[in-house]
Amino acid sequence: MGLTDPAVRPEQNDATSVSSVSPNWVTTRLDFLTNWARANSLWPMPFGTACCAIEFMATAASRFDLSRFGMERMSFSPRQADVLICAGRLPFKLAPVIRRIWDQMPQPKWSISMGACASSGGIFDNYSMVQGIDTIIPVDVYVPGCPPRPEGLMYGIMLLQKKIKGESFTDETLRDEKLVGPSGLFLPPERVDELSEPFGNSVHQTRSA
């Protein structure tokens, strides 16, 4: 059995009714191959803004050694990066910067939000801080902690690898660029407000406090 020209409709060619998008064994094997390759050669784009970046550096250094995950090379150019790791809090002033870096990364790409601040604003529920980078770029894996230990970040990376291994390269929606739309946001405004709602200790502070 071979690959069928997608231009040839199955009903026109019953002998080899294999469409390139049907879940047959050929695509399964290719998915396995591409996912295996992608998951084990994730080049990180480190976006270290604060204390979490120190722990990220510890993760990359010899004791924990990110290279074991195929992250041999820190990609300081977004053009050659696969996974953006935001390690630290993100002030609004940096929001257009991380957005531009994300837009410059070619598909396929993923992102990890490392630490409480990157994931939710953390303790910085104030005028200057983005309340979770998921209001700026799409996020695949959130790593909790303040800061997360290197084991925590590595667990997050392994979860991302697991997620990648479940992807299918025929599913093109996975590779959709979620661009900033005409509203100036990449999510609906209500969604941004909802994601930024105070929680935990900060619910005790009112907006006028």
Binding site: P96, Y127, S128, L185, P189, R207
Partner: protein, 205 residues
């Protein structure tokens, strides 16, 4: 308890009523001076050999919780040869214009310090060569974040804050001399373009 700095009686002898009051707090001498004479007093403290306050450690401001207390602009001075410190404060009535004379002509290091006070408190430093925001971005529209009437989370909704942040041009935070390419010039706000075009820091376009 350290005694009052000898600079304070010297200031009183030189400037009389311009010295409003003085005190010692936690061993530091603090002197309040009249706003109108601030530049003269600070220049005198820098240039008089017996004073020699040649290093401006910090410029900052304080707004107290009690609304009737004035806002204070604080200059922390140090004399490197004499190893002496002096804190000079100006009280600004919040009902009037928050304006003081810039001291960038006395200490070049005051440049960014005064910009920070302007950015956070809205105090205008008359004569500053390039007075614009330094921590928040140039087009930040919510006000002055360290003022007591500023809500902790800002005035706008989170969606609006995010939208404005994403609309900012990351290159437009810098003056032209900070940029290797000047092509963000046309995207800067009009008043900043005008300031840069006539000031020593820009070039005529």
């Amino acid at each position: 308890m350290s005694p009052l700095s000898p600079s304070v009686p010297a200031l009183r002898a030189e400037f009389g009523d311009a010295v409003e009051r003085s005190l010692v707090s936690s061993g530091d001498s603090i002197v309040y001076i009249a706003r109108d004479r601030s530049h003269d007093v600070l220049a005198w403290l820098r240039d008089t050999p017996s004073q020699g306050y040649n290093y401006l450690t910090d410029v900052t401001a304080v707004e107290y919780r009690d609304p009737e207390r004035p806002l204070e602009v604080v200059y922390q001075l140090r004399s490197l040869p004499r190893r002496a410190d002096l804190r000079v404060k100006l009280a600004l009535d919040k009902r009037g214009p928050l304006e003081v004379r810039s001291v960038v002509d006395l200490w070049r290091g005051a440049d960014w310090l005064e910009r920070e006070v302007f950015d956070m408190f809205g105090v205008v430093f008359a004569g500053h060569p390039d007075l614009r925001r330094i921590l928040m971005w140039e087009t930040y529209a919510e006000g002055y974040p360290l003022r007591k009437d500023f809500p902790l989370r800002g005035h706008f909704s989170r969606a609006e804050q995010t939208r404005q942040a994403l609309a900012a041009n990351p290159e437009a935070h810098y003056s032209l001399e900070e940029l290797s390419i000047a092509d963000a010039f046309d995207e800067l706000p009009a008043d900043m373009r005008e300031r840069l075009a006539r000031g020593e820091r820009g070039f005529l376009k």
